[in-house]
């Protein structure tokens, strides 16, 4: 078992009166895919955005490589090597693949862009991820398919010396073949030694690529277990009821939002 690279301890997060995350403990390990599952509104995206510094957390501790850290912005998260692929992707349609991959971190001196350098690096990254579906890295994102966009968003996150990649439902809008490609990509990221968090509603996908499964139920961490120790049925029960046998929250019926 590898060392935890990112750990949450007792994280709480409210939006005004709505208490979305309750005392969340969560561990991401390098070289592993941790699946984060939970019903719609369980707080998965909020958790990811809290890690990324988009939403400030109310209480609790975040440890990165064993050290307590406070992350105020996506930029600071990126400085630690934490990258997020958001559910709503957030790519600039008018810009091409290279421009999107380097957006906010363009290469070049004195404010001038080094296009050739960026293009080469983008192509190298896509090749290292065995991405062959995009013809030219100068294609504008507007003309890419959903799967290709997802690929670009993921490739963008590993262009930097990233250590943790959080993927929020990367396959939700994809067809079978495209999902296949993205899952392969996810697996490859873990093989390259990154800590990967995959949010997904598809149990088959989760069981196929993940090493661990973390179940959120109404903003509480119901269980976090090695994938091989649980069954489909148990995970579904954890998602829908917060409890399965002796797994999960002791008295889920008392859990409130």
């Amino acid at each position: 078992m590898s060392e935890p690279i990112l750990e949450l301890r007792g994280i709480n997060k409210s939006f005004g009166p709505v208490h979305v995350l309750h005392d969340i403990d969560f561990t991401v390990r390098a070289g592993e895919v941790t699946a984060l599952v939970g019903d719609n509104g369980a707080g998965k995206s909020t958790m990811v955005k809290s890690i990324a510094g988009i939403h400030p957390i109310d209480s609790g501790e975040v440890l990165f490589e064993g050290q307590p850290v406070t992350i105020h912005s996506p930029r600071e998260a990126a400085d630690y090597g934490i990258e997020v692929v958001y559910q709503d992707l957030a790519l600039c349609e008018n810009l091409d693949i290279v421009q999107n991959m380097f957006l906010g971190r363009e290469r070049g001196k004195y404010g001038l862009l080094d296009e050739a350098d960026m293009e080469q690096a983008a192509r190298k990254t896509l090749a290292s991820l065995s991405v062959r579906t995009v013809k030219s890295v100068r294609t504008s994102v507007a003309s890419l398919s959903g799967g290709q966009r997802q690929t670009v968003a993921i490739a963008k996150s590993v262009l930097w010396d990233s250590k943790v990649v959080l993927l929020d439902e990367p396959t939700a809008a994809l067809g079978v073949a495209q999902t296949r490609q993205v899952l392969d990509l996810v697996r490859r990221l873990a093989e390259q030694g990154l800590g990967v968090v995959l949010i997904s509603h598809n149990m088959n996908d989760v069981f196929e690529v993940s090493d661990r499964i973390a179940c959120l139920y109404l903003g509480r961490m119901a269980a976090q277990l090695p994938t091989k120790d649980v069954t489909h049925g148990q995970v579904v029960e954890l998602i829908t009821a917060g409890r399965s046998g002796d797994l999960g929250i002791a008295r889920p019926e008392t859990a409130t939002i």
Binding site: L91, C92, Q99, L103, G111, K135, S143
Partner: protein
């Protein structure tokens, strides 16, 4: 993946610029064929260029603003305000009449014009980027306020006493046959094109217009950047005010009510999308010259000049319609 470098030319020109360049060439060719003796002369060329220089400088700033999916209606009024403050400062530095003032006074006048433009640009930027008031409303406000302020300061009349050294050199002087005003506009335009096409600042301008939230998430300082863009538009409007004053030998408080619309029309004609995220300075050059060539051409050929705004309107609406259907086609695919 095949290596496919995007050439510098392509990045500067943008995608839908080619056809608007063709429209411009076509216009020149048609007018030239009708009256070759009058149209294709150095004099006609020069006057068309000079008359368009001031508008071009406004349109360069406007291109940045529109690419961020904003708008700046205040440029013409800021031009007036900057001309007035600049002329009045120069006059007061020279005992009430700067006509015979030297270069020192002219330089102060330039700085005052730029600072006046910068002040309005900064105010626009603050209200738009920080207070998050829609650009249309903010700049509609400063459109009225800057003109009103200019007229208050000048008591509602044009300010004369513009230094001769300024008018004779920048205003009507030439270098190797090229009007100095045109050279200045060309330099500003070239710098604008490089800033937009080859720098981080330019790239972030496109990104914000394309997807502001995405720009924010990758750590681009969207608020600061938007302020800088409106500041740039303001400074260029200040410079345009200085140029207009040099050319007309008076800081005029009238005749600039539609500068904003002319600049916007030029930018949009040049292929910059009102939806933001796409456009180019090179396109803006073509876009600004189309109305100018139409006006000149109509005068020379003897068409009633009131046809010019109608013709421009048709081309403008066609340009936007073209942009929209291109987008729809893209979204469907």
């Amino acid at each position: 993946m095949t290596p496919q470098r995007k050439s510098l030319a392509k990045r500067l020109v943008g995608t839908n610029t080619l056809w608007i360049a063709l429209v411009l060439l076509l216009l020149i060719a048609v007018f030239g064929a009708l009256r070759p003796d009058a149209v294709l002369t150095v004099f006609t060329l020069q006057t068309t260029l000079v008359e368009t220089s001031v508008l071009l400088v406004l349109a360069v700033g406007m291109t940045f603003v529109i690419i961020t999916s904003g708008i700046d209606l205040s440029v013409g009024s800021v031009l007036v305000f900057s001309g007035v403050t600049s002329a009045m400062t120069m006059n007061s530095l020279n005992g009430g009449d700067a006509t015979n003032a030297g270069w020192g006074v002219v330089v102060v006048g330039l700085l005052v014009a730029l600072a006046s433009g910068a002040a309005w640009g900064l105010l626009n930027g603050l209200l738009i980027a920080k207070a998050k008031i829609p650009p249309l409303i903010v700049t509609l406000g400063s459109f009225g306020a800057a003109l009103g302020a200019g007229q208050l300061i000048s008591n509602g009349s044009n300010v004369s006493g513009v230094p001769n050294v300024l008018s004779n050199n920048l205003g009507t002087g030439t270098t190797f046959g090229v009007p100095n005003l045109v050279i200045l506009a060309a330099v500003v335009t070239a710098l604008g094109a490089l800033l937009l096409g080859t720098t981080r600042f330019g790239r972030h301008t496109y990104a914000i217009g394309s997807n502001e939230e995405a720009a924010r998430r990758v750590g681009i300082g969207v608020t600061r950047h938007l302020m800088a863009v409106y500041l740039l538009a303001g400074v260029l409007a200040g410079l345009a005010g200085f140029m207009a004053m040099a050319y007309f030998r008076v800081a005029s408080v009238t005749g600039h009510d539609t500068d904003n619309l002319n600049a916007i029309a030029g930018v949009v004609l040049g292929g910059t999308s009102l939806f933001g995220g796409a456009g180019s300075i090179v396109g803006t050059i073509f876009g600004v010259f189309i109305p100018a060539v139409l006006r000149k051409g109509f005068v020379i050929v003897g068409v009633n000049v009131y046809w010019q705004p109608i013709a421009v309107a048709i081309v403008l609406v066609a340009a936007v319609w073209f942009d929209q259907s291109r987008r729809k086609a893209r979204d469907r695919s």
